[in-house]
């Protein structure tokens, strides 16, 4: 086994963990600035070591497993919640050279593996033998499943115009124009559905602290709880990079500025998406549970289907087909 195959994923793991610590800090800083306060600045210069301190704290914390909890399930749940979050990164092409697999059905793999997390959440909710956790798990499972469908539907527009599920080909196809413009409806639905997949405001029902039901990870303490948080932020990394690849043209430079390397463009677009996630979290109130479900089925899904129809129709129109038949 040549070393690159082994070292690559480990290196990616460290990059992702590094990103997660910086993302948590960056989120608290951004929300702090929006709320006209400096954000964490106590631990380390400008608060850089804040997340490290948090993780260390969680490590030291006592690892309580409720007595009547279903022990094997309870221990397994965080792992099942985290593994797909990381496994999904295998298929994301960061630049032409920097990618792990030329998977023919990249998107399908991504969307399929990412829905395994729901099982982990249900296990966590059920195993902790706590009525709040159970209600929270039910809610978040229902939410993630009902938003999975608009998420998938919104991507079909791109697949139609590119004609392949391979993420690398999708990025290649966006040399001239990024898919955010022709597929704007798809982008809107995708972005909103990804917000809900990540359980972020305005769809952060499960761990709505002011709500009665306090999330599926209410019984988890110490490092198991950290695992759930970790999987949430790795998903932010995965979802943001997928949005960049699908809609913002991966490593393609805008307006032909190709002297700056692709990775820099990728990171810039990626950070733009991550910033907008935090920005929305600081501004939006929370949607009610029944409104959330209704929104998914009655608004997002029809819009996504309409977007597919639009793409299919516009492919035939003579002038516009260069946008839609790549």
């Amino acid at each position: 086994m040549n070393p690159v195959l082994v070292m690559g994923p480990i290196l990616l793991l460290f990059v992702v963990l590094g990103f997660v610590t910086m993302a948590i800090l960056f989120e608290r800083k951004v929300i702090g600035w929006i709320q006209m306060r400096p954000g964490p600045n106590r631990v380390g210069p400008w608060g850089i070591l804040q997340t490290v301190a948090d993780v260390l704290k969680l490590l030291i914390k006592e690892d309580i497993i409720p007595s009547k909890a279903d022990k094997p399930l309870f221990k397994l749940a965080p792992a099942i919640a985290f593994i797909p979050a990381f496994a999904v990164l295998a298929v994301i092409p960061f630049t032409e050279s920097l990618q792990f697999s030329q998977f023919a059905v990249g998107i399908l793999y991504y969307l399929a593996v990412s829905s395994i997390t729901i099982i982990g959440i249900l296990m966590g909710g059920w195993a902790s033998n706590n009525k709040y956790a159970l209600l929270g798990a039910m809610r978040s499972a229902a939410q993630m499943i009902s938003y999975e469908i608009p998420l998938v539907m919104s991507v079909v527009g791109i697949i139609l115009s590119v004609g392949s599920l391979n993420l690398v080909e999708i990025v290649e196809a966006q040399k001239q124009v990024w898919f955010i413009f022709p597929q704007f409806l798809g982008f809107a639905v995708f972005f909103i559905a990804s917000l809900s997949e990540l359980n972020r405001t305005p769809f952060d029902l499960p761990e709505a602290e002011s709500e009665l039901v306090a999330g599926y990870h209410v019984e988890y303490t110490g490092f198991r709880f950290a695992f759930f948080m970790l999987s949430e932020y790795v998903y932010v990394f995965a979802m943001a990079s997928l949005t960049t690849v699908l809609f913002l043209g991966g490593w393609n430079a805008p307006f032909g500025l190709t002297m700056i390397p692709g990775i820099v463009w990728f990171v810039l677009k990626f950070l733009l998406i991550v910033f907008s996630l935090f920005w929305i979290r600081a501004t939006m109130p929370r949607v009610r549970v029944d409104q959330l479900m209704e929104f998914a089925w009655k608004v997002l899904l029809p819009v996504a289907l309409f977007n597919i129809l639009l793409t299919a129709v516009l492919q035939e129109v003579p002038y516009l087909d260069f946008l839609y038949r790549l």
């Binding site: 951004v30 929006i34 006209m36 400096p38 501004t283 939006m284």
Partner: protein, 151 residues
């Protein structure tokens, strides 16, 4: 959708504004002169008239007076003066009724202590607590509040 976008615009605009928070532990927070912090007590002004004990809503002041040491002066001199800071609510009624301004509020608000017995402030402690004593007290206040202070 328009309302959501407008809201986002406002939060972005606020992001650029400087932070309005105090850096309290690093930068000391100055309090206005009238701030009601822990009291300062001056034993020689006190004429042991018990007004403060009577007005205190939570009865946390206990004092004992003794005969004036040299015989020809009459009246009493304060012997012990304790304020029980477990139940003192810093309501400033005692300084209001004190005729001779023996007890006056200061602007110190760091009152946390490590053990409960430190909360029983005796006369010495109250006398040493003399930084940033409040300047505008009863006697030099134009409109006098009701209560015991004579002109």
């Amino acid at each position: 959708m328009r309302g959501l976008v407008k809201g986002l615009g406002i939060t972005l605009k606020n992001m650029t504004k400087p932070s309005v928070t105090h850096r309290y532990p690093d930068v000391p927070l100055p309090m206005p002169d009238r701030f009601r912090g822990i009291q300062y007590f001056d034993p020689d002004l006190c004429i042991v008239c018990n007004q403060c004990v009577r007005i205190c809503p939570t009865d946390c002041i206990t004092l004992t007076g003794k005969k004036h040491p040299d015989p020809e002066k009459k009246g009493k001199v304060i012997d012990t003066y304790d304020i029980n800071f477990e139940i003192c609510i810093l309501c400033d009624l005692c300084t209001e009724v004190c005729p001779t301004e023996a007890i006056v509020m200061t602007n110190n608000y760091e009152l946390a202590v490590y053990s409960r017995d430190d909360l029983f402030k005796n006369m010495e402690w109250l006398h040493q607590n003399d930084e940033n004593v409040r300047k505008e007290n009863n006697l030099n206040k134009p409109n006098l509040a009701p209560g015991g202070n004579k002109k």
